[in-house]
């Protein structure tokens, strides 16, 4: 398949979910857009040599998570996260946050700490297995399982407080 067609398929198939994942992880729509752009560009740069040791989806998510982490490591990101109101004023783009209800699942995910948020998004939103998550975050399966359990407990607590019933 020519590269141009491949890129179009990749964006059609994964574009929305990768963007939403980046948004949940970064808690910032504009940065999520930056991350998703970087993700697809990096993916195209390296796809020819992708060896299919993992699925295409896992490979792409790994790139996206790394892009998000790079953004989060940026000092500017930390300032931005610490001053959300100022940030909203500056960017004038808080419309995404407006439609998110306070007791939504997405809002609950975004209340978690970054590491917990990451693993919950990978497991529940991207529907990756523990093995796949371990490969994405570079941890052993045991560590990943422990982290997932911890994150799940925290998530459950937040959801219970928001009025969701345990199932």
């Amino acid at each position: 398949m020519p590269a141009e067609q491949f890129l179009e398929r990749l964006m059609d198939e994964y574009g929305n979910t990768v963007l939403r994942m980046c948004y949940l992880y970064l808690k910032d729509y504009q940065l999520a857009e930056d991350a998703v752009q970087e993700t697809f560009i990096k993916a195209m740069k390296s796809y020819e040599s992708f060896e299919h040791k993992s699925s295409e989806k896992t490979w792409l998510i790994r790139i996206a998570i790394n892009c998000c982490k790079n953004i989060m490591r940026n000092r500017w990101f930390k300032i931005r996260q610490n001053n959300p109101e100022e940030n909203a004023e500056r960017t004038g783009n808080d419309s995404i946050d407006d439609f998110l209800e306070k007791d939504s699942i997405s809002a609950a995910v975004m209340k978690l700490q970054a590491n917990d948020r990451q693993i919950i998004v990978l497991h529940y939103y991207q529907e990756l297995s523990v093995k796949e998550i371990a490969a994405v975050i570079g941890k052993t399966e045991n560590t990943t399982r422990q982290r997932l359990n911890r994150a799940r407990s925290k998530m459950r607590k937040i959801l219970t407080e928001a009025g969701y019933e345990e199932n």
Binding site: S46, E51, K53, I105, V109, Y124, Y125, G138
Partner: protein
Amino acid sequence: MKKIEIKEVIDRELRQIELKDDIKNNIRNGVTALRPDRIWKNIAASAAAFAAVIILGGTTVFAGYYMLNRVWVNEEVLPELDSMQIVQMNEPETAPDEYGMIYEDYADYAAMQEALGLEMLDTRLSDDNPYMLCRLKTDAKDFAIITVDNYITGDTGNYQYMEEENRYAFDNGKEYYTPVSLTADLVLSESQLDNGWDTDYLGMYRFAESYTSEQGYKVNIIEDTIEEELEDYVSEKAAVFVAGGIRYTLKGRVSIDTMKDIVDTMR
């Protein structure tokens, strides 16, 4: 709430978040703005360990010099290593697959060298190690990539073979948080040598340092930054060097000093 329901609910809640056309255009433009010699080309084959990507070149000239054996970390080009050279290798016994690629497993590193008629660097640290997983990937024409998982086990332990996944589970050690793996990149043809062989470490990597080993190899050390904020995090180090025209990469979660000691034992 079940897993599938959570995904559906999130998709519903975030339905306004969609990859817009202007973002898609930015991506298209960003992709075409990349140097054409590193994308959009038919690459015979290469190896990738998720973010670590090897690019077998199809175009040689960039910025006035030949793109031979370059290692990149994100957008940073690392100090040049010694030159790769054409290596003579016996043809593997396995038949190529439908893409012309041959994959062959060997009992260990020594058996692989014997079968392929290669003389490669080795270390006493890998002596008496029954946990190696040694694999060759080659087109038997232009290139070959040899990987040896669990090449040096150090003080890791309790190895248990997981048959379905063809790998070992292990307990972390103190000096070796993980075993150290070995990858060797071999150029088999003149045309591959001309075309070059770049390696990209994308995403959570940084260049740590460049130095010359006891044996005189120019070595680049790259490390991951996945959990660098954690106090006790032992990052994965990759030591890349060329010896006898073959590019070796030792990779594992050990300290830089330990990695340098390992490189010094590669004879």
